[in-house]
Symmetry: C2
């Protein structure tokens, strides 16, 4: 694959990510993706064979990046406090830098959860950037040692992820309800991280 080929395929993937994030699968236009990638529509089918397949590639890439980022936080010698203090910051900052990812993710969680399951399973099989069993085991140990109050790892993780990821989705909702503007992005994320970390550490650490 020569230089032009790489950049074409890459450009299509990048453009597709934006388009799918902005409009969802059905709303995304193959033509628009090709144009944004600076190439012909046929080019897109040449590399990805179908819209569906292009979407799968985008999703797999996005989930891969997310898990690589998460994997960086999870290691053998993690205390529950350092996990709860560091995870939300890293995760929220990462999603703020890559706003297309939570959109694609949440969209699929709602409309195509099996899609997520399959792709996540595939990533864990192929890519060792993050070992979920390691995290699950640690959470169980933390609870056995009396360090945390939540005994079910699923709810522990759900609490952490909910507060982190919904910062993005829920912001316009709460702005609409309260009539307040949440302020500039940087200030909003700073305050959000602080609130999430405080609530999680105070709420789940024993």
């Amino acid at each position: 694959m020569d230089e032009k080929g790489v950049s074409s395929k890459g450009a299509i993937l990048a453009a597709a990510r934006k388009e799918f994030a902005a409009r969802g699968f059905s709303g995304a236009r193959v033509e628009a993706i090709a144009r944004a990638a600076g190439c012909n529509k046929a080019m897109l089918f040449y590399y990805f064979s179908s819209k569906e397949n292009l979407y799968r590639s985008v999703l797999a890439q996005a989930l891969g990046e997310i898990f690589a980022e998460i994997g960086g936080v999870v290691n053998e010698r993690l205390t529950p406090r350092s996990f709860l203090e560091r995870f939300p910051e890293i995760y929220i900052r990462f999603l703020a830098r890559n706003p297309d990812l939570p959109r694609i993710l949440v969209f699929d969680l709602i409309h195509n959860p099996e899609n997520i399951s399959r792709t996540v399973g595939q990533i864990f099989r192929e890519n060792a950037s993050f070992n979920p069993q390691l995290l699950l085991g640690m959470i169980r140990t933390w609870h056995d040692q009396g360090l945390i109050s939540e005994g079910d790892p699923m709810h522990f993780i759900l609490n952490v992820i909910s507060l982190s990821i919904f910062s993005f989705v829920g912001r316009p909702m709460v702005e609409a309800i309260s009539g307040l503007k949440a302020g500039e992005d940087e200030e909003f994320y700073r305050a959000r991280i602080q609130s999430v970390v405080h609530t999680l550490t105070k709420g789940m650490l024993k």
Copy 2:
């Protein structure tokens, strides 16, 4: 408007809610909605004039129901503890009974936040089922009295809503990560409510 007319319009709205929730705006098919409502496609345009307009009606109705439910929890003599103990239960149970609502809501929060803002504003103007300023004022008072640790009402509400609503969206994600099945719905919601209430009360009450 005669009996048949009422039921046609209502049937279209109900079918549209399901279709939009399942496939999003662009993925939803006008034809499919009409068929599910037991009537002709032209009937739909007769009552709602466009797909867009039908969607707006569905969204307004959905948000109306949500705020009516929330309004039931918020009243003058609310302590922060009773709010944090009761809200997640009522909200999660309500969304579990009406699974289409969080789907439509989250979909629009991602792809059309201005839509949400406009409709929410409209509901507050027309319908007095829930007064957000009352809740905001209470949260500020609670903080002034030293009852809660989160001083910004926006983050207070965001924490509560995140943990409640993301229970639905995030479940397949966490199932995929952990490889665990979350169990039967009823058991899952029971445990989820308990975890959310515990985390919120312990995390945000002083």
